[in-house]
Amino acid sequence: SQQGEEDPQALSIQEGENATMNCSYKTSINNLQWYRQNSGRGLVHLILIRSNEREKHSGRLRVTLDTSKKSSSLLITASRAADTASYFCATDEGGYSTLTFGKGTMLLVSP
């Protein structure tokens, strides 16, 4: 069953601009994770934010989590062409350490 839902489905920006992607989910979670997928490849883990955290940074990435609104956002600052990829949020609802992935946001960064 699909838990997270990313918004927008697609985003097109110029290099140097910031990119913001949002994720909404339905049930309570232990943590929320963001992944990147380059075209036709496997997913790469970007960042994990626990349910008791509100904000987390990693390099040019900033993730926020609002458990009252059941939503998260991923901000990529000063985007580069190499950031072109699909981005997925994934939620851990507890149990066997499985994740439920959203359908992703396709980000295109033009030079």
């Binding site: 232990n30 994770q33 496997g42 997913l43 997925f88 066997y96 499985t98 994740l99």
Partner: protein
């Protein structure tokens, strides 16, 4: 560096054939997962395993089975391939136990076409 490898990047099989997709990880992870990814549907969990010889059904197990005889290896089996199993198959692994899930490490994927 964690490495998850999958036996094939591309595979073409005929309807009715038995298909084996192999996945190997080198980080001594307890958990291993098989997903399929289809346009517009995202990633859907087929099966996962949290220990050797243990397996649990995911969201879409019908038409698939799995095998985990060794900790580092997790196989996905299509008993009788059908055209609706044409998809990208992704294997992943992670640590297990503890409180909540850990990050998952993915293989490069196998694009399977069933004709």
């Amino acid at each position: 560096d964690v490495k998850v490898t999958q036996s094939s990047r591309y595979l073409v099989k005929r309807t009715g054939e038995k298909v084996f997709l192999e996945c190997v990880q080198d980080m001594d992870h307890e958990n291993m997962f098989w997903y399929r990814q289809d346009p517009g549907l995202g990633l859907r969990l087929i099966y996962f395993s949290y220990d050797v010889k243990m397996k649990e059904k995911g969201d879409i197990p019908e038409g698939y089975s799995v095998s985990r005889e060794k900790k580092e290896r997790f196989s996905l089996i299509l008993e009788s391939a059908s055209t609706n199993q044409t998809s990208m198959y992704l294997c992943a692994s992670s640590f297990g136990g503890g409180d909540g899930s850990y990050e998952q490490y993915f293989g490069p994927g196998t694009r399977l076409t069933v004709t």
